[in-house]
């Protein structure tokens, strides 16, 4: 019985904190926010050298072969720094589904390149209905010789604008859901960048007109696994983001004075901050378990992933909202950094299933 981070995990987290505070301060984040594609190439080259890109990629494809709990350390720090770019979608989500469902040949191409930092992948699930529920997926896959062709329009696809390959959820003639890998430069793929609210991220629509694709093994199970991994990953990012917002609000409350004293001495602010901590700490333990359950394949892995996603996204949205309030007028400016996390929280909340959607999954999986 040892429910805590290992020495290595703690070190990974600390080194990620140190690296990102040096290389990815908010001045840097803002520079990337102002670019068209939102993709910090030099930072990502360094990340690849650190071994983060291939952290969960098996060793035979050039990765470190580590698990979700290890990855959660980096994701949490990425959230803390509001790190821009496709990391979560490429090195966590695309990497995880390829690892499980990709052919040897496909993986030696994409997974290897991904681990080396030479390729970016992403995942495309949601369509115009704005939902990850399989019922709301209409994209169709048709058999074409040895391969497949995809038709449909995907929405809100993270970083499709810079991706080399896209993992697409589509249905076979029989209505069964599968994941397919599409080359982003292939004929029949049209990518249009959407105008994002959270500028630490980019999303696009992806139109597929007979785009050639390769099917991943695993069907419905792999799709479910993708949602689970996404839930845990987004939850980990949210944990770090909430920590940062709380830290900023608390630090500000110690230096800003009104009525002749620091505003942090007013109970309204103390209680607001204490409530965030009281929500956050138990959720942290839950996230650890959810990531660990992904690694061990525990029977309750899906259910806990859904719990962690619902809970941490709720906490992140509420926490950043209160943190803006604790700053007063300055928190409402573009110049102040608070709105980076405020908006990122809302992105996380909707991305890969709302808290209400995941709560419903918890109910179904728990036979309510």
């Amino acid at each position: 019985m040892d429910f805590g981070l290992s020495e290595e995990q703690q070190q990974l987290k600390e080194s990620a904190r140190a690296f990102l505070s040096g290389e990815c301060p908010t001045t840097f984040v803002r520079k990337i926010m102002a670019t068209d594609d939102g993709y910090p190439r030099e930072l990502y080259a360094q990340i690849a050298k650190l071994g983060w890109s291939g952290l969960v990629v098996p060793e035979k494809f050039g990765g470190a072969g580590l698990g979700m709990l290890d990855m959660a350390m980096i994701l949490e720090e990425g959230g803390y720094a509001a790190m821009p770019g496709p990391f979560l979608f490429s090195s966590v989500l695309a990497a995880s589904v390829l690892k499980l469902g990709g052919s040897e040949q496909l993986n030696s191409k994409w997974l290897t390149a991904l681990a080396e930092g030479k390729a970016i992948g992403t995942v495309a699930v949601v369509e115009r209905a704005g939902s990850i529920d399989p019922v709301d997926i209409a994209a169709v896959a048709t058999k074409d010789g040895a391969g497949w062709r995809l038709n449909g329009t995907k929405m809100f696809v993270p970083y499709a604008n810079v991706a080399d390959f896209i993992v697409v959820a589509a249905k076979s003639d029989a209505g069964e859901i599968f994941l397919f890998v599409v080359d982003a430069k292939a004929p029949g793929v049209t990518i249009r960048l959407l105008k994002n609210l959270d500028l630490t991220r980019r999303v696009s629509s992806v139109e597929l007109k007979g785009a050639p694709a390769e099917r991943l093994g695993g069907g419905t199970d792999l799709f479910a696994k993708l949602i689970d991994v996404a839930a845990v990953a987004v939850a980990a990012d949210s944990l770090g983001g909430t920590e940062r917002a709380l830290e900023m609000a608390v630090e500000y409350s110690k230096v800003r004075e009104q009525f002749g004293k620091p505003i942090g001495s007013f109970q309204a602010l103390k209680h607001a901050a204490a409530e965030i901590v009281a929500d956050l700490e138990p959720a942290r333990a839950m996230l650890w378990y959810a990531a660990y359950a992904q690694d061990t394949g525990a029977a309750d892995a899906s259910r806990t992933a859904a719990m962690a996603k619902a809970r941490l996204c709720d906490i992140y949205s509420r926490g950043t909202d209160r943190a803006v309030l604790m700053h007063g007028g300055i928190g409402f400016t573009w110049e102040h950094d608070m709105h980076l996390w405020f908006k990122r929280a809302r992105f996380n909340e909707s991305c890969f299933g709302s808290p209400a959607y995941h709560r419903e999954r918890v109910a179904i999986l728990g036979a309510y």
Binding site: S253, Y292, R311
Partner: protein, 395 residues
């Protein structure tokens, strides 16, 4: 990370489970403090704790020389889980076991440990907590009960209030003012007072539940030997806080919440509204899941702290939230159950039509008492902000 219990621990769990299956008292004692008014309750409750102790299931982590077994905290947590699972009766010596005992182990003199600890385990001496006073609740350090040194004794005068279990306690761990001139935190001492001593009057107070749970305790020239002082004179505040730390962890314990949630879910499944079970009402269903998620998070939070304890890590802000989160959660669970019962929530537990054996009306009220007792939620938030987040003090 490893969530597996060792095979010895699993075997231990099965042994404990088996013991509870065979030894649970069949009537007259329950998991909450229900029935404490009954004259024969005390005797039966003491017998129950003694049986548990003889079986080796009380205070497993205490040092051997004081009657413990010096086992690691995992064994204790297994026993706690199994007690909850078996719906084992409330331990009448709980305050001694969970609050005073650990305090004495850290702060007591050797003589005090030998004199008091073994009898806490066997329920031969039942303890109560004399902290709150009419003028000193949240602001505990403003307490006024006075202890003056006369020869080798203290003479105590004053009043305590809300003293749980004083009506049957043999001893009280008590905060008294020994230096009225010093700043308020520096003139307090921590002492152990015999509740049978002359000059002590206990006046019961009836709680909103209708039960006699707490009391007023009056001290009129009560003589207390000097050797009953814990730690140094006027240095009682730090000892008081050690006890509060144990109290808050006890009150915020996650182990009961899971059982309560399961009970709430079963209740919601059994209630039909508009022709379908309440669990299929989309709004109530979401509410249930939110509660379950909070319960689960607290469960993992507790295991995390158990690991920290084994690893020898000092508790930080994560321990400061236990009381706030645990008691609010338990009260929210009970409030949801009351809402689920609809009109049936009008009934007291004594009506034969009451749902779920009348568990919830009592639990709903009692759980709010715990949001207040041991330092209210407001005070917990002040502590989290000031000590945990280092936000500036108001004063």
């Amino acid at each position: 990370m490893d969530l597996q219990f060792t095979s010895e621990e699993e075997a231990f769990r099965l042994k404990v489970r088996g013991w509870f299956a065979e030894n649970m008292p069949t009537s007259g004692l329950s998991a909450d403090s229900e029935g404490r008014d009954d004259k024969t309750w005390l005797a039966r409750a003491k017998v129950w704790q003694r049986r548990l102790y003889d079986a080796g299931y009380v205070a497993l982590a205490w040092p051997k020389e004081y009657g413990g077994q010096a086992l690691d905290p995992v064994r204790q947590s297994i026993v706690n889980d199994e007690m909850v699972r078996a719906k084992a009766p409330y331990l009448v010596g709980g305050l001694g076991l969970m609050m005073l005992g650990p305090t004495l182990i850290s702060w007591g003199s050797e003589e005090q440990k030998q004199r008091y600890l073994p009898k806490i385990l066997t329920a031969e001496e039942i303890w109560c907590q004399g902290y709150s006073e009419p003028g000193a609740g949240s602001d505990l350090a403003s307490l006024k009960t006075r202890a003056e040194i006369v020869g080798d004794e203290f003479v105590v005068n004053g009043q305590k209030v809300w003293t749980s279990g004083a009506q049957y306690a043999d001893m009280m761990f008590c905060l008294v003012r020994t230096d009225p001139e010093a700043p308020k935190h520096r003139g307090i001492s921590y002492m152990l007072i015999d509740m049978h001593a002359p000059g002590i009057t206990v006046r019961p107070l009836v709680q909103m539940t209708g039960d006699r749970g707490f009391n007023e305790v009056f001290f009129d020239n009560v003589h207390v030997p000097r050797k009953n002082l814990v730690a140094k004179l006027n240095e009682g505040w730090i000892v008081a806080n050690a006890t509060l730390f144990h109290e808050r962890n006890m009150l915020g314990s996650a182990s009961g919440s899971e059982q309560r949630f399961n009970r709430l879910l079963a209740l919601a499944k059994s209630i039909k509204r508009g022709g379908r079970p309440l669990t299929e009402d989309p709004v109530f269903r979401q509410r249930l899941v939110e509660l379950e998620i909070r319960v689960e998070a607290m469960r993992y939070h507790a295991i995390r702290q158990l690991t920290d304890q084994i690893r020898g890590k000092n508790p930080g802000v994560e321990a400061m939230i236990n009381k706030l989160v645990g008691t609010e959660l338990n009260h929210d669970l009970a409030s949801a159950a009351m809402e689920a019962m609809g009109d049936y929530s009008m009934l007291s537990r004594d009506d034969e039509a009451v749902l779920d054996h009348g568990y919830w009306p009592y639990e709903w009220m009692f759980s709010l008492g715990l949001v207040i007792g041991g330092g209210t939620s407001h005070i917990q938030k002040n502590i989290i902000a000031e000590r945990g987040l280092k936000m500036p003090k108001s004063r």
